[in-house]
Each structure stands twice: as structure tokens, then as C-alpha cells.
Assembly symmetry: C2
Homo-oligomer: 337 residues x 2
């Protein structure tokens, strides 16, 4: 069988371009013993992938050159061995960026799609949702009634985190990169206030948004961007506040190091705690998370914010660039069929 | 009775100078009901006092102008009411910067000087020692065998923290501001390695010091300075490392904001936790601390590093300036008698 896949041709400098990659048609081998052949139906494009395109040491290995890139995908089993999942099952795995994937049996995860869109396992029911859940519940220990500020709040993780916090009786303020995204946060997702971080200094806009939300300080900052917004958040943290570092979009494309907050002395004066985490360390929370998230989805307490891209595998690279440039809202999912 | 005291005359800009203060002779009033008259025998000069001379909002109030400054002192009771401590008792209180102090009874703390120099209650047996103890034990949760890096290690808190960690079987690396101080750390206090932060880029010197200590990464950074050394420490933290923010000497005299670490992305990749604290929130640890520290002092596991200044109250301001400029080692204590 033949299938197409995206290869990394060279490491991007700054913003990636079309000449950094190539869409290649390959002959997919028969699955060997213990392997599973999957027809991918959807894949996600995510900010962390930009990091893996660089050689910089990161928590994940750099993508090799002239080989297919990887990432989360869902699909249906086309062929499988005697111990593998039945043909026709829905599975989630990490060999995205391709139409057909031959995956080791241990690396596929059969999912229960009863009542949910299978692509939800790329987003709210996948690592995206688990990331928001772990960040709020375990790292920040968010309590009802507290004030949460979340940056990149119209992104996949941010939009989920904000909605989970609202469901727990918190005041939620978010930032996003366009007036349209800001409107989605307050009008569709129930945020108490939101601001466009491109419209002026984060420091002033954050202060005004907190005021609109009827609060004067932040108990928990869920940071997806770093840079200027992190400094602005430190400035408005309440005593005993927690800063959960989840991502740093502001630094991913940067060719110069992005300065850290100049006001870290406030970390001492206000007894603040700042902690980075990677969701992979917290798999033990997955059963609780899946139970809670399925309930929140049924009750429409959490409504997935997604950008669905059609056009098949060819559309995946442009969708990645668009997501990176801030053109998408929520989880960017590419339908491959 | 007449006594002399140091008044703040104006708020220093950058490094304080002699014209910012005045030594004033005053008539000390009779102690009123519930008050205690104390002849101070020793006072400490400390970096945080620089912060209180500025108007900048801090965790502690700014010193008022044209009034005596405050700070830790020990002394003996000269006069006291029926419910107060007996005449002749040794007490610790916060009305330093003066020869005679009239202190509310509730604000004096009778100390047991059996077997110890009363001035120890300004240092290793006082808030200095408690700060090191709380920072390592509660904030960092330092474990035996881990590697500790402590900056301003020839300072009062840093020298105590390093010695406590050595007593727990840790590898300890410190930084200080002169070759003489560096020598004290490795030759007198048992540090595994130390470096002079003024001799070159912190990043390179820290790497070399870790190598000399036979280790390649840091589990706990006890930060007393901020700035460049904080960035260098973040770079060498091990997975799951903790950064305890205790002070930020690098920023106290700065007239421009000091940039934060440019490598906070490592906080995520390596799951680091950074936490600021103020010792006043952790008074509950004081009984454990006093028991442990008296034992460590008896066993010479902790040896107080002090700069003793004689010359009475007149010597207090020059001693403060010298401490701030890095001319002292360990706790700076001014003998007032």
C-alpha cells in the first residue's frame, strides 16, 4: 500500500517555511509480528512540534531529518496480529504526519469512542485535556473561589484549563492573540474577562482585565507563553500564589533568548511558587481525568474549542504554520480522510 | 538617660552614603507601663535593611525619615514593670541602631545564653540560622546525598545553609565575592568547592566548581543573590530540582530592573520548582531549629562565621556600608558596649 507522509528536510531558523519540509509518497511495509497497521483519520498539530524541529536539547528528542515527523493521531486498525487490537478498532498513537502508520502494538492505545468524536482523544480527552487537568489540580492545587489567569487561553490547553476552573467556581481571566479569540473566551466559554495581548503592554491590559473581572490579584497563573505576560502575572500575584509553567510559546520561534521576569524579588516578598511540569510524569491521574472529563463533556461544562482542517494530509503543514502564527483557535485537528 | 541612635535622613539612590543618615543623641524616656528599658550590647547589620531605606513597596515597611532605624539587637534589661522580664535578663528584640531601647514587653524575647555567646541570637541561633534551616528543610526539602549550590555563601545565611547541608551528607558548592572568602568556604567550613563570582562569568565558574566537587548538576539552589547566578543555576539544575529564593542582593542597589533568567523554559523541561519564602511565616519550626542548632554548635558541625565590629554605636553605619559592599564575611555584628 502507498501512503503519504511529511518529512523534515532541514531545521527551521525562526519561523518555519514550506521549504523546511516535503510531502513524500512511500510504500508502507506489511506490519511485522506485534505491529499494527493503522489508517489515520485525524492528527493534531501542536506548538511543541516546533521545538522538536530544532536541534536544541529539549525534553523530547529532535525530529531526525529526512524521515517522517511524529505526533498524536487517531485512526482505525487495518491489520493486526493475533495479540493486537481487532481490525476496525479505534486507536490513538504517536505516528501522526502520515496517512498510514505501522505502529508497535505496545504503542497503540485502544479508545472508547462511545458518545464522543474519536478526534476528542487528540484534544480534550487526550494529553491536551490531561495537561490542563494536571496543571490546575496537581501543580497549582487550584481551590474554588480563587482567581486564575491563563495565557494563550484560546489555545487547546488554555481553553480547557479556563473552563475547568470556571466549573470549580473560580474567577477566570484569559489572554489571546486577536479580538476574535478574546470574544470567543468571554462570549462562548464563560471567561470573566479576557484581553488581546497584541493590543498593548501586557502589564496594563492584565490590570484592566482583572478589574473587569471584579478582582485585584491572581492566585494561580497558568503560563503557556512566558516572556512579557509572565512578568505581568508575577506583578499581580497574590501572597501564596502559584505559577504553573506549561509552555513558552513566546520563546519557541525566538532567535535570541527571551529575558525572564525582572521582578522575581516579588517571588520572595509574596511567597510565590513557580513550577514547570511535563504531563508525561502524571499518567497516574489519567483515570480520574477521563472520568471527570467525560462527565464535563456530557454536561457541556467543558466545550471543546477546535479548529478543524479538511483537505487531508496535504493540509497538515499549512495547518501547523497557521497554528504557530496564531491563526487557529483551540486544538488544531487535521482530518485525514 | 541619654543615648545615641542612627536616624535615616533621606532615601539613598543606589549605594547609600554617610549623608543619608545621622547619629543623634536623644534623651531616652522612662519606660511606661508594660515597657522594658534595654541596654543594647550588640546589633546586626543586614542586607534587607537596604530595602527598608527605599520607598519601594517591600514585604517590610520602609524606614520613616528622621527617626531611628530598626533591626535585630540583643541586650540586658535595665528597667521593667512587674509583668516584664527581670532586670539583668538577656533579651532579643528589634530596636537596634541605638544604645538604649524602650521596647514594648510583648516585643522582647528572653533568651537562654547558657553556653552560648548572647550575640549568637543575632546570627546562627537567630533568624539567620532559622532562615537557612527553613529554606533547606521546608522549602527545598533537601535530601542527604543531594548537591546544593548556595550563593553569597560567605554571608550569614549562606554560610549556615552550606554547613547544615554538609552535616546532612550533601555535596556543597558555594559562591562568594573575593578569593579570601572563597578560601574560608573550602578551608574552614568544609565546602566541596567554591568560586569567586567577581572573577568571571557565573555560568563557566559554576560549571568548573561543580566539576571540582565531583558532580555535574544541582538538586537544590539556595539563592541569596538573583541575577546572573540564578540564570547559571537554572542551567545546571537536575530534573526535579528546587530553587529556594531567599534574597536578591544583586538587585538591592540596582537602579534599573535586573533581568530574570533567560532560560526559564528549562523549568518546564526539567520539572523545576522555584519558591520564595520569608522566614516569619515559619515560626512553627523554631523549636526544632533551636534544638538542632544548639546540638550542631556543641558538636562544632556548624561554626558561626561572623564579622565582629567594635567601636560602639558610631561603628554601626560604617559596618553596614562595609557589609553591603561585600567587605564582611558571615554575620556582621556590631558590639555596642
Amino acid at each position: 500500500m502507498k501512503g503519504r507522509e511529511w518529512h523534515l528536510r532541514r531545521r527551521p531558523s525562526g519561523t518555519p517555511t514550506a521549504s523546511d519540509v516535503a510531502l513524500v509518497e512511500v510504500t508502507v511495509p506489511e506490519p511485522g509480528p506485534g505491529e499494527v497497521l493503522v489508517r489515520n483519520t485525524a492528527m493534531s498539530v501542536e506548538p511543541y512540534m516546533r521545538g522538536r524541529m530544532s536541534e536544541t536539547r529539549s525534553y523530547a528528542d529532535a525530529y531526525p531529518l529526512d524521515a517522517p515527523m511524529t505526533g498524536h493521531a487517531v485512526g482505525r486498525v487495518l491489520a493486526s496480529g493475533p495479540d493486537g487490537p481487532p481490525v476496525g478498532s479505534w486507536v490513538r498513537h504517536e505516528l501522526g504526519w502520515r496517512e498510514l502508520a505501522v505502529v508497535p502494538g505496545a504503542a497503540v492505545d485502544v479508545v472508547d469512542v462511545e458518545g464522543v468524536d474519536p478526534a476528542a482523544f487528540l484534544g480534550v480527552l487526550g494529553l491536551t485535556g490531561l495537561t490542563a487537568y494536571v496543571g490546575l489540580r496537581r501543580i497549582a492545587a487550584l481551590r474554588p473561589g480563587e482567581t486564575l489567569f491563563v495565557s494563550a487561553a484560546a489555545g487547546a490547553v488554555g481553553s480547557t484549563a479556563g473552563q475547568i476552573a470556571k466549573a470549580q467556581g473560580c474567577i477566570v481571566v484569559g489572554s489571546a492573540g486577536s479580538p476574535e479569540k478574546v470574544a470567543r473566551l468571554t462570549e462562548d466559554l464563560g471567561f470573566d474577562a479576557a484581553f488581546d495581548h497584541r493590543a498593548g503592554p501586557a502589564r496594563e491590559q492584565l490590570a484592566a482585565a482583572l478589574e473587569r473581572a471584579g478582582t485585584d490579584g491572581i492566585d494561580v497563573y497558568f503560563d503557556n507563553v512566558g516572556g512579557e505576560q509572565l512578568e505581568a502575572a508575577v506583578r499581580r500575584m497574590r501572597e501564596g500564589g502559584r505559577l504553573t509553567l506549561c509552555g513558552a510559546i513566546a520563546t519557541y520561534n525566538a532567535t535570541e533568548p527571551v529575558p525572564g521576569p525582572r521582578n522575581l524579588l516579588l517571588m520572595i516578598w509574596r511567597r510565590l511558587r513557580m513550577e514547570g511540569f511535563l504531563v508525561g510524569d502524571h499518567e497516574d491521574l489519567r483515570p480520574d481525568f477521563e472520568r471527570d472529563m467525560r462527565a464535563w463533556l456530557r454536561a457541556s461544562v467543558v466545550r471543546p474549542l477546535e479548529t478543524r482542517v479538511s483537505g487531508g494530509i496535504e493540509a497538515a503543514w499549512p495547518a501547523f504554520l497557521d497554528m504557530l502564527a496564531g491563526g487557529s483557535v483551540g486544538k488544531s485537528i487535521v482530518d485525514l480522510t
